[in-house]
Amino acid sequence: MQLNHAQRELTLKIVYYGPGLSGKTTNLRHLHAKASPEVRGRLLTVETHDDRTLFFDLLPVFFSTSSGFKVKVKLFTVPGQVIHNATRRIVLQGADAVVFIADSRRGATADNNAYWRNLQENMKENNLDPSQVPVVIQFNKKDLPDARTDAEIEESRRRGGEAVVGAVALRGEGVLETFHAVAQAAYRRLDTRAHLARNLGLTEAEFLGQIFRRMDLTGTALATMYGRAAGEARSGDGR
């Protein structure tokens, strides 16, 4: 988090981490498509010709609070290929919250575990305390054969303290829910540390509302929570 009182700006960083091809970039693409242009910038991707992330993807989401603070949430993805560990570590620098995109297939378990450990190591390398940085786990690619069942995912949720969301990012399922969970977790952590509500007048409801009322939430459970403006967002999105 970077908090600049003089310029009344707050910048948050959320990093999408996980094994190669688990669907990190797909998550960001979907968020970009569902967010109204007034709250998001361009999706910056640096990819190889075969669509593997080379350095990172970046999707900025931003709004101004009722108290006149400018808030920017920067969503990054790391490159998942093994050789890019140094880049993963750099992108992870200063993360306020992490989404771990796991591949739901049982055959991917070893890979998920390896990257989970890699995440812990790189957090430590960056002086981030793994017990302090909230992590949301997304079980992606639930549509594929050999994917874990809902019961197995539930079982995995119980084994750790992280929020867990099932997803088929390719069809957009679970992507907004994951983002909602991580945004909420990031807010709560920062509110604990920097008292956003007290010092900035930025409540959790406003923080989430400013973002999610400007997202097209059609077909998700979030639609009822931020329902009023979901339609607005849709009609306001020209592209």
Binding site: M1, Q2, L3, N4, H5, A6, Q7, T11, G41, R42, L44, V46, L54, F55, F56, L58, P60, F62, F63, S64, K70, K72, F76, H84, A86, T87, R89, I90, V91, Q93, G94, A102, T109, N112, N113, W116, R117, Q120, E121, E125, N126, N127, L128, D129, Q132, I137, S156, R159, G160, R193, A194
Partner: protein
């Protein structure tokens, strides 16, 4: 980033590492390739015949193209009052807020409001349009279009004509060179320019971040490699030191054991020979057993000492001309009693003619042959045969040099092929049970290998399980510049940290 203040305790990054460019707020200049950007601005200005300035929030000019208004403005600037009014106008345009305050009004034209364009009048009747450069919710600078003559301007205003000394016909003549255009058209040009600028910033940002991250990743990888190298070097040093300590320790201990043991054997032999009075048959049997077991213990300790000296790199070969044939004969005679006791036939086959001497350490070579022969006798049962064959000095394939080949062959129990590699390792026994049956600590062959390799030679084994074995030693006539077999240690693999989550 200017004046940014990090907050909270854990925002810092690793002390040895720089903050990544991803953590910084980029300026407009970071994200634009300035030379090509200036060219774009110039061609835009020339196309629409109106000046364009681009400035960042710090007030630095990134591009500044003047078209048409230069002469008129200089003329007005030449009068003291004109100068002060001009300065005030320019200050408002360049440094004032891009907002509807301090004389600004919204510019007319499609999209002008959405783009945040304001119109600012000049006291001469000319006009400026100013557009903020917004990027992802931040304001990074401004674009100033103008001054231009608004289409709707009928005549020069009093604020200009009032200025004493201004020649109206001259002013008219010069103002005619300034582009005359409706404000909405000018605003559209500016909106369009804003779109081009956004595209340039997007690709510029991408290129800038990719380049910077490429460099950062390289530095990070380099740092990582250096740290790894340092760790490995440290581990290597420690292992070498441990290895040396182990060998020194073994050497010392062997010494300390051998001295008293030699006394035990000596005194026992004296007892057996009756020097302290006659022994009855039972006492004699016991004392001889003490001597026998003492000798085998002494042999074992000697082997350990040899090996530890080899491993500590302290074994020095005393090189001299050696007649290999007589070395073999001496070795044979020293194992002959053992063979005889066991009922194993010993056979020696040397070249018929005297052979050239080789450069070697005679004592160590004898030890090699003795070890091989003793081993062969040990694993051959009564009625079997052990033979040693020495070749003439000829070219040896293994060495790519001339040398001798000595084979020791037995009709013993043999060795399984999957054990061929292992038997030359220290303390290795073909199988646990043979230790008890045949004695020895499994050091003989390890010593043979070290000594032979110390001479620049090779030792190998062939065997048919159950039928017998043949050990072959190949020795060069002249050893290569002396060096002993190296002993390598493997660094322990780091234990993986963390737990499985999935």
């Amino acid at each position: 980033m200017n004046g940014a203040s990090g907050s909270g305790a854990s925002d810092g990054v690793g002390a040895s590492r720089r903050e990544s460019v991803l953590q910084r707020r980029l300026s407009l200049a970071d994200m634009l390739d300035l030379p090509s950007f200036v060219e774009v601005v110039r061609s835009f200005s020339e196309l629409y015949r109106v000046g364009i300035k681009v400035m960042d929030t710090a007030g630095d000019k990134l591009a500044d193209v003047k078209v048409g208004h230069g002469d008129f403005c200089s003329y007005v600037f030449g009068f003291p009052e004109g100068r002060s009014r001009c300065t005030a106008t320019v200050a408002r345009v360049k440094d004032g807020p891009v907002a509807l305050v301090q004389g600004a009004r919204p510019a007319s034209g499609d999209g002008a409001e959405a783009a945040g364009i304001i119109a600012l009048p000049c006291f001469t009747g000319l006009r400026y349009l100013v557009m903020p450069v917004r990027w992802e919710g931040d304001e990074l600078g401004r674009v100033i279009l103008g001054p231009f003559t608004p289409e709707e301007l009928a005549d020069l205003p009093p604020s200009l004509t009032d200025i004493s000394g201004v020649d109206l016909s001259r002013a008219h003549e010069l103002v005619a060179r300034v582009r005359r255009v409706p404000e909405r058209t000018a605003a559209q040009v500016l909106v369009h320019f804003g779109q081009v600028l956004a595209a340039l910033v997007a690709s510029g940002q991408r290129a800038f971040l990719a380049t910077q991250l490429h460099i950062e990743a390289m530095l990070e990888t380099h740092r990582e490699l250096e740290a790894n190298n340092a760790r490995l070097a440290q581990a290597n040093t420690r292992l070498k030191e441990l290895d040396r300590l182990k060998s020194t320790f073994l050497g010392t201990v062997s010494h300390e054991l051998r001295t008293p043991l030699a006394s035990i054997i000596g005194y026992s032999e004296m007892l057996a020979e009756g020097l302290a009075g006659a022994l009855n048959p039972e006492q004699l049997l016991y004392v001889r057993t003490i001597v026998e077991k003492g000798e085998s213990l002494l042999n074992l300790i000697s082997s350990i000492l040899d090996l530890s000296q080899i491993e500590a790199g302290r074994l020095r070969l005393v090189m001299g001309p050696v007649d290999l044939g007589s070395v073999i004969q001496t070795a044979v005679s020293s194992v002959a009693p053992q063979a005889q006791r066991k009922g194993v036939e010993l056979e020696v086959c040397l070249p018929p003619l005297p052979q050239p001497r080789l450069a070697a350490d005679a004592d160590k070579l004898r030890q090699v042959v003795v070890n091989l022969l003793a081993n062969a006798v040990k694993f051959t049962s009564s009625g079997g045969r052990v033979s040693v064959v020495m070749s003439e000095a000829t070219a040896q394939n293994e060495l790519a040099a001339p040398g001798y080949r000595v084979s020791v062959e037995d009709t013993g129990m043999g060795i399984r092929e999957d054990q061929f590699e292992n038997i030359f390792q220290s303390f290795y026994q073909v199988d646990g049970s043979s230790t008890r049956e045949h004695g020895g600590a499994g050091l003989g062959l390890a010593i043979v290998k070290s000594l032979v390799e110390g001479h620049g030679g090779r030792v190998s084994v062939e065997s048919e399980f159950g039928r017998g074995s043949r050990f072959t030693v190949v020795l060069p006539l002249q050893p290569p510049l002396s060096e002993h077999g190296g002993f390598s240690a493997l660094a322990p693999t780091p234990s993986p940290s963390g737990h499985d989550r999935f």
